[in-house]
C-alpha cells in the first residue's frame, strides 16, 4: 500500500488540517515510512482472535441518570476564543 499526494490531501482534509500543496509529497513520504513499519502486522496469525476492547476486564460503572451539576455557563465559556451573549461564536455556517 503506497500513499500518493492525492491520498495525503484527502487524509489531511478528513483530519481538518490545512496542508499546503507543496508540503504534500513530503507528507506522503512520511506516511509511507510509518505505514511500511505498520505493515509488519500482516505477518501475525490473528485467526480467531477477537480485537481487544478493554485492556482490563472490567464492567464499566453505571451511574444514576440524573443531573449532578450545571449552571456554569461562565466557566464553560471562559476559555472560548469568541463567546457572545452566553454562546460560543463561530463563522456563519448556514447561508
Amino acid at each position: 500500500m503506497s500513499i500518493d499526494t492525492d491520498t495525503a490531501a484527502r487524509v489531511a482534509k478528513l483530519a481538518r488540517i490545512k496542508v499546503e500543496d507543496d508540503a504534500l509529497p513530503a507528507l506522503a513520504d512520511e506516511f509511507n515510512t510509518i505505514l511500511g513499519f505498520i505493515e509488519q502486522l500482516n505477518e501475525v496469525d490473528v485467526e480467531g482472535i477477537e480485537p481487544m476492547v478493554s485492556v482490563t476486564p472490567m464492567r464499566l460503572k453505571r451511574r444514576v441518570d440524573e443531573v449532578t451539576d450545571g449552571d456554569q455557563q461562565d466557566k464553560v465559556l471562559s476559555n472560548a476564543p469568541d463567546a457572545r451573549e452566553g454562546f460560543f461564536a463561530v463563522p456563519k455556517v448556514v447561508e
Partner: protein, 496 residues
C-alpha cells in the same frame, strides 16, 4: 553542612517535616530558588511560586496539628498535561495557548488533598507525543546529565522530559508524569531517576489531557523507589469521574518494601534481546539478572513471542485514539483560533486553526490515525492492531499464569542522545526508543524503571521491571531490591 533541602527525597523530607526539623515553607523556598537558577534546563514552563508558598503555609499548619499525610508539604512539579485550576495547562501545544482550566485533575487534586505543594508546570512533548522532548511548543528540555566533559546538550527523553530533568536536577522532590508508550520510564532511565507506570485504571485520567485513552496512565517520577511508593499511593484511587478507573482499595505500597525477594520468580524474555542492541545495555541487563539472583530470586527464561509487533500495533492504536481525542481542538471552545480571511467559513476555521496550533509530530499522528480509521482501512489496520494487542496481552498472561512474579528487561535501547541528533532520522527511528516499554501499555500492566548504572560516557542507564496487574506493591518491592543491589547514587554535575 546538611544536604540542600531541595535535594531531599520525599521520605527524608517527610520525616524531617514531621519531626519539626524543617518547615514546609523553607523546603518550598529551596526548590523555588533552585528553579530560579535552572532556566537553562527549560524544565519548568509555568511557575506558580505564590500558590506554592500558600500551599506550604497550609502544610505547615497541618503539620503543626499533627494531621500530616506522607505527602504533606512535599514540593512537586506537575506535568503540563494535567489540568490545574487557574494555572495554564497547555500539554505543551500551541493549540492550547492561553487555556486556563476551571477545574483540577483528579490526580493533582488527590496530591493537594494529601498536602502536596505545586511549584509549577513541567515541559513535555506536545500532547505527550515524542521520546525526546523536542516537540514541545516551549522548546526542548535539556538533560542535566552530560557526556563527561562534553557540553553537548542531551535529551532528557520524553514525553515526561521536564519532569525527569526537574527531578534529576533537584528542582523539586518529585514530579507527576504520564505514560502512554514509555513516557515515564524512558525519561526516568535517561536521567537516572525512578518512574512507575501503574496498572491501567489505577490512576484516574480525569482532567489529564487525553492522548490515547486506552493506554494513558499517570504515575510518579521520583528519586527513589520508596518515594515512588509513597507518591503513587497518594495519586491513585477510584474516581467516579473516570469510568475506567478501578474501584479497588489502594494498598499501602510503602509497607510492601521489605527488600525480601527470596523465592520470587523473575522472567527474562528472550525477545527483548534485540539485534544491534549496544553491548552496554546487554551488560547492564546481565548485571541486573545477577543482582536479582544474589537477592534470592529465581531467574527463569521466558518467551513473549509477539513482542516484535508491539511497536507497529502501538503506532496504529495510539494515533487512532489520538485522532479521535484531538478532534476536540476546533478553535471553538478553548485555546487557539486562527485569524480568518474574508469569506472563510467554519471548515477553513478548523483547518487553519489545527494547522497553526498543532506541531508537525502531532499533525502526523492525527493524520495517520485518521487514515487507519478511514473507510476501507479500518479492518486492515485498526482491527488487526487490536487483535495483535490481544495476543501481546495473552503472552504476558501466560507467563504470569506459569508462576512468573515479575519480568526484568532493559528500560531503553540506549542512553540519552543529543538534542537534534535524531533530526534527520525518519519518525520510525524515534519510535524505537519505546521498544522495551510499549508492550506494558498495550497489556495494561504496571512497569517501573530503576537506575542501575552508568555507561562509558558517564550517562545513566535504567532497567525495567514489569509486574502483574494490580500488584504494584510486589513490583515496587522487587524494584526496591534491585535499587539496593545496584546502589546507584550518582548525580549529574551541576553546570546550569
Amino acid at each position: 553542612m546538611m544536604t540542600d533541602l531541595n535535594a531531599l527525597t520525599i521520605s527524608e523530607a517527610r520525616d524531617k517535616l514531621r519531626a519539626g526539623e524543617i518547615a514546609a515553607a523553607e523546603l518550598t523556598q529551596a526548590c523555588l530558588d533552585a528553579i530560579e537558577g535552572a532556566g537553562a534546563l527549560n524544565a519548568f514552563v509555568h511557575n506558580t511560586p505564590d500558590l506554592a508558598r500558600e500551599q506550604a503555609r497550609a502544610a505547615d499548619a497541618r503539620l503543626a496539628k499533627g494531621d500530616a499525610p506522607a505527602m504533606c508539604g512535599i514540593p512537586l512539579g506537575i506535568k503540563d498535561l494535567f489540568c490545574t485550576r487557574g494555572v495554564p495547562s497547555q500539554a505543551a501545544s500551541g493549540i492550547l495557548d492561553g487555556f486556563i482550566p476551571e477545574y483540577e485533575s483528579t490526580v493533582s487534586q488527590n496530591l493537594f488533598d494529601a498536602g502536596a505543594v505545586m511549584l509549577g508546570k513541567l515541559n513535555m512533548d506536545e500532547f505527550a507525543m515524542g521520546s525526546s522532548n523536542e516537540t514541545s511548543v516551549y522548546g526542548s528540555v535539556v538533560n542535566p546529565w552530560r557526556r563527561g566533559n562534553d557540553d553537548a546538550a542531551l535529551t532528557p527523553g520524553g514525553s515526561s522530559g521536564g519532569s525527569a530533568s526537574a527531578v534529576a536536577a533537584d528542582l523539586c522532590l518529585a514530579a507527576t508524569g504520564t505514560d502512554t508508550g514509555g513516557s515515564i520510564r524512558q525519561p526516568a532511565a535517561f536521567t537516572g531517576i525512578t518512574g512507575i507506570k501503574p496498572t491501567y485504571g489505577r490512576c484516574s485520567r480525569w482532567g489529564i489531557v487525553a492522548f490515547a485513552s486506552s493506554l494513558d496512565q499517570a504515575g510518579p517520577m521520583t528519586k527513589t523507589v520508596r518515594d515512588s511508593a509513597i507518591m503513587l499511593e497518594a495519586m491513585c484511587g477510584h474516581d467516579p469521574k473516570d469510568s475506567t478507573s478501578a474501584d479497588l482499595a489502594v494498598p499501602d505500597f510503602e509497607a510492601a518494601l521489605t527488600g525480601d525477594i527470596r523465592g520470587k520468580r523473575i522472567g527474562i524474555p528472550a525477545e527483548y534481546r534485540m539485534d544491534g542492541m549496544p553491548a552496554e545495555i546487554e551488560a547492564l541487563w546481565q548485571d541486573g539478572i545477577a543482582m536479582m539472583k544474589d537477592a534470592g530470586a529465581e531467574i527463569v527464561d521466558i518467551s513473549l513471542p509477539h513482542t516484535k509487533y508491539a511497536l507497529p500495533a502501538y503506532y496504529v492504536i495510539a494515533p487512532a485514539e489520538a485522532s479521535s481525542n484531538l478532534a476536540r481542538y476546533d478553535g471553538v471552545r478553548y485555546g487557539h483560533r486562527a485569524k480568518l480571511a474574508q469569506g472563510d467559513g467554519i471548515t477553513e476555521m478548523y483547518e487553519k486553526t489545527r494547522a497553526e496550533g498543532f506541531g508537525p509530530e502531532v499533525q502526523r499522528r492525527v493524520m495517520i490515525g485518521t487514515y487507519v480509521l478511514s473507510a476501507g482501512f479500518y479492518d486492515a489496520y485498526y482491527n488487526r492492531a487490536r487483535k495483535v494487542r490481544a495476543l501481546i496481552k495473552r503472552d504476558f498472561e501466560e507467563v504470569f499464569a506459569a508462576g512468573i512474579d515479575a519480568i526484568l528487561t532493559p528500560a531503553t535501547p540506549s542512553a540519552a542522545f543529543g538534542l537534534g541528533e535524531m533530526a534527520d532520522a525518519d519518525p520510525v527511528q524515534m519510535y524505537l526508543n519505546d521498544v522495551f516499554t510499549v508492550t506494558v501499555n498495550l497489556a495494561g500492566l504496571p512497569g517501573i524503571a530503576v537506575p542501575a548504572g552508568l555507561d562509558r560516557q558517564g550517562l545513566p542507564l535504567g532497567l525495567q521491571l514489569i509486574g502483574r496487574p494490580w500488584e504494584e506493591g510486589d513490583l515496587l518491592n522487587c524494584a526496591y531490591a534491585l535499587e539496593r543491589s545496584a546502589g546507584f547514587v550518582e548525580k549529574p554535575v551541576k553546570w546550569w
